[in-house]
Subunit: 82 residues, 2 copies
């Protein structure tokens, strides 16, 4: 959890993951996809051959919405996928 | 090919794909992943539940590099995945 950066306007959590090769990147994305389907949470994801950038926003679509406990829990679940 | 936007600084091709649901988004990403492994080309990809944004850059890492025939061919190959 300490590697996630908390940002404002709108409130969000961001983290960059780096991988050795494309296969590892895809493995992580596959696990993340399964987690998304299970939790019904779909973060914004950017990736290339060796990296994945994630942005987690509060469930509420309101631009002023604050991060809640569930958002930090979801971040921790993602950390466990690595 | 006509749905790709050609941009400068650096030269690149960009296109947004939209999907009905997360399953369709993941299907497309899976096919794109296979294409990347086959062609050894790894575009920058951003996606969420219902969309995928792609950025194709010239193979050369030089910031001044121009788009070449192979880049447009790769874009067409991606269009065929939808």
């Amino acid at each position: 959890m300490d590697k996630w950066e908390q940002r404002k306007r709108p409130f969000r959590l961001e983290r960059r993951f780096e991988f050795e090769d494309y296969e590892s990147t895809r493995d992580f994305l596959d696990r993340l996809g399964e987690l998304s389907e299970r939790t019904k949470r779909f973060p914004d994801i950017s990736f290339g051959r060796n990296y994945v950038n994630l942005t987690l926003r509060p469930l509420s679509e309101d631009d002023e919405a604050l991060l809640e406990e569930g958002d930090f829990q979801f971040a921790s679940q993602i950390d466990e996928l690595v």
